[in-house]
């Protein structure tokens, strides 16, 4: 493999609509493999929408712009042409802000299927899964690292999980699937102080130098062990400002007053979006 081309996730001028309402209004973002980026912004500014669009949620329609992966050989892969499962198999991952409960489906069974497909992208349904013994051993080890009880694997996916358990389960999946690029959407919310610290360390360990990570957060603690190369601020469906780790600290401390004042156009878009959301609700 020639490494003249560092693998990258490139998002250009992305416009996304939900039910014909435009939410993202031209987002540009470039994340290299091995880089950590933070994405902040007030509630409703479009952060989760970006995560869904990257992963291909059918309700989030990309009206223009592009999402591509630059491969090590320099080829560009069009992510938008792929189904969600193909995106996962191409090495993308989204840790959900609100993970879905799947009653009756055990964490271990679900993960074994997921791991089988992601590690063998050509796998068709009905074909061999990763060997049980190997999978179990790996799952157990990863759960131990995350200080999770082994019983957890037998529970039904997110069914009756506490807020904190859900987020740990998302990190467990991240660890097992080892994607190239991951969006972590408020993976710190719902975790107690100790758990956030553990999560921060774990993510740093899981990510290492191999993963490009976009951390969506309203806080700083998760960034403690994952110092962002860049912090981006989203407002009214656009990334209006990017800076270093100090930007995250500022926003956490002082909020978005300065941002709104500096970018009146985006602030106006934010108000309009809030009004539209209220009208459709």
């Amino acid at each position: 493999m020639t490494s003249q081309h560092p693998e990258k996730l490139i998002i250009q001028d992305l416009h996304v609509a939900v039910e014909e309402r435009e939410i993202l209004k031209g987002v540009n973002l470039e994340i290299g493999r091995g880089e950590v980026h933070a994405l902040m912004g007030p509630n409703g500014s479009g952060k989760s929408t970006l995560g869904y669009a990257i992963m291909g949620h059918p309700s989030y329609e990309v009206t223009s712009g592009s999402i591509e992966i630059v491969e090590a050989d320099g080829n560009r892969r069009d992510i938008l042409a792929m189904e969600p499962d193909e995106r996962a198999r191409a090495g993308l991952f989204l840790a959900f802000q609100r993970p879905m409960a799947i009653p009756g489906v055990r964490v271990a069974d679900f993960l074994r299927h997921a791991v089988s497909n992601v590690r063998n992208p050509e796998r068709k349904e009905g074909q061999e899964l990763v060997p049980m013994k190997e999978f179990r051993g790996e799952l157990k080890a990863k759960m131990a690292e995350l200080q999770m009880d082994t019983d957890f694997a037998r529970r039904y996916v997110n069914d009756g999980f506490s807020g904190g358990e859900m987020k740990r389960a998302e990190i467990l999946q991240l660890a097992m699937l080892a994607p190239r690029f991951a969006v972590l959407d408020e993976t710190d919310s719902g975790l107690d102080a100790d758990a956030v610290r553990l999560a921060s360390e774990s993510i740093a360990r899981i990510g290492g130098a191999d993963m490009g990570i976009l951390i969506i957060t309203h806080h700083e603690q998760l960034l403690e062990h994952n110092i962002p190369l860049k912090t981006h601020v989203m407002l009214g469906g656009r990334i209006v400002e990017s800076g270093g780790p100090e930007l995250a600290a500022e926003l956490h401390k002082r909020g978005y007053e300065r941002i709104r004042a500096s970018y009146p156009e985006a602030a106006a878009a934010e108000e309009a979006m809030a009004a539209e959301a209220a009208a459709t609700a």
């Binding site: 992963m55 949620h57 189904e83 009756g104 997921a114 497909n117």
Partner: protein, 483 residues
């Protein structure tokens, strides 16, 4: 897809029975069962008449009481209208063979079996010998050899486990005490039909205080007799005895006959326990109209676990009559309806004594234009104080073409009772699908997983190998590779 392949088998034309028309009948005689019979007795014709019923009884060398029971049932059948509930029953009673000896069903060859059935066998990993039987190519599955020692164990404990025809000959008094008493021929048109022409099925008697630790399976004695069209099963669980009986198997039942109409009667005496598990996967041409009922006495527990896949129309409502204080009834039902299929399944609980309790859990899945209905009755008779019943029915609809209905009937003639009913209908959530596909599962895998999860509470009640097969079957159904 099912044509009458009997026409291609070893046929001999003989004069019809006084009708002046030559009809094909089957010449092969099972030499072990009927070596002394004259060939004339082995005429099998389409249609139903006193003659046919007499013939069936004669061939089986039945005692007079059974022949009379059949003839009386025939009269009842003829006098009864078709059920006015459920689905449209497109059966022409004149066009059916009411009695086929197992050897007569051997007309087919493996090549006649439809490809999708073969594919399903492959995917389920059904052993070669069983495939041929299940596909109707081979009449007898040599299970006696394999399970002989098991039979001996049971016999030592005084357990009777045999096919019902044999029981009529060998245990006439015991059988007669209960036969047709739990489900009289007058119960409904199809119970009457079965009573007139029944053949095969299992008879089980578990003596006082005897527990059978492993599930008894019809599978153990798999042969065409006890999996026929009109099988008749009777289970008597004596005081304090336990048994779990498993009927059918998840491999597709392929039959060229379009009507399956069984009767299953169960008696569970004081403090006895009986669980009856059915998993059936019928070919798409079958009308599956089955009457199942159990009587539970003091402190007894009766459980029906009923899984219905395939068929054109299934109408089946296993019932528990709780006859004495402390009796309990539990019915778990799963139905999966796909294209061209209507599952009208449900349950019946009758509280006929105080302090009885019942529970119905029904889960149905409709896909690809399939239709499933829950039809249930909870009845509390006067004086059945402090009775409790709960009904939960959940329906999962996989697409806009498919349909699900709920018909819960509740008749309460007593004040002091507690009856609960919950029903939910859900569609496979786009959000759930997205969650799973975003982790790399294909859409088919993801839906199969959601469906599997939906019925998991019932599947985990099944014996291990059935649970595994059930899950595989659901996966197959979801892939759409098998109808």
């Amino acid at each position: 897809m099912a044509t009458d392949t009997h026409e291609t088998s070893t046929l001999a034309a003989v004069p019809g029975n006084g009708a002046g028309v030559s009809k094909p009948v089957f010449g092969e005689i099972n030499k072990y069962d009927f070596r002394t019979e004259s060939p004339a007795i082995f005429k099998a014709r389409r249609g139903l008449s006193r003659d046919i019923v007499n013939q069936i009884s004669e061939m089986k060398k039945e005692p007079a009481w059974m022949r009379d029971f059949r003839l009386k049932s025939l009269e009842i059948f003829e006098s009864k209208p078709m059920p006015h509930w459920g689905g449209r029953i497109g059966v022409n009673f004149e066009d059916i063979y009411y009695y086929l000896k197992p050897t007569e069903q051997q007309g087919k060859t493996w090549d006649d079996v439809p490809d999708e059935i073969k594919k399903t066998f492959d995917r389920l990993g059904i052993p070669e010998a069983e495939r041929k039987f299940l596909a109707g190519v081979k009449a007898q599955f040599e299970s006696e050899v394999v399970y002989g020692s098991l039979q001996e164990d049971l016999a030592k404990k005084g357990v009777i486990f045999t096919d019902t025809d044999t029981a009529v000959r060998e245990h006439p008094d015991l059988l007669r005490e209960y036969f047709g008493k739990i489900i009289p021929p007058s119960d409904n048109k199809f119970a009457a039909l079965n009573s007139a022409v029944w053949s095969g099925g299992s008879f089980i008697y578990v003596p006082k205080g005897v527990s059978i630790e492993f599930p008894l399976q019809a599978y153990f004695r798999i042969n065409a007799e006890n999996m026929g069209q009109f099988e008749r099963t009777l289970i008597v669980v004596d005081e304090g005895a336990h048994v779990h009986y498993v009927e059918g198997c998840t491999a597709p039942m392929y039959s060229t006959e379009s009507l399956h109409s069984a009767v299953v009667e169960i008696v569970v005496k004081k403090h006895g326990r009986c669980r009856y598990t059915t998993i059936q996967n019928w070919a798409n041409n079958i009308y599956n109209l089955v009457t199942k009922r159990a009587m539970a006495y003091e402190g007894a527990l009766m459980e029906w676990i009923d899984g219905n896949l395939g068929s054109q129309l299934t109408m089946k409502y296993p019932a528990v009559y709780m006859m004495e204080p402390g009796a309990r009834g539990e019915i778990l039902s799963i139905a999966f309806a796909s294209a061209g299929q209507h599952q009208d399944a449900g349950a019946k609980l009758v509280h006929a004594a105080p302090h009885t309790s019942g529970r119905i859990v029904s889960k149905s899945i409709s896909k690809n234009g399939g239709r499933s209905s829950y039809r249930g009755l909870v009845k509390v008779e006067p004086g059945a104080r402090k009775s409790k019943s709960s009904v939960v029915c959940d329906a999962l609809i996989l697409d806009d073409k498919s349909r699900s209905d709920t018909y819960p009937y509740i008749e309460i003639e007593e004040q002091d009772v507690s009856i609960g009913h919950e029903a939910s209908v859900s569609k496979i959530g786009e959000e759930q699908l997205f969650y799973l596909t975003s982790r790399g599962l294909s859409e088919a895998e993801a839906s199969a997983m959601i469906v599997g999860g939906f019925i998991e509470p019932l599947v985990k009640e099944l014996p291990m190998e059935y649970a595994v097969e059930m899950n595989k079957l659901i996966e197959l159904q979801m892939e759409g590779s098998v109808g």
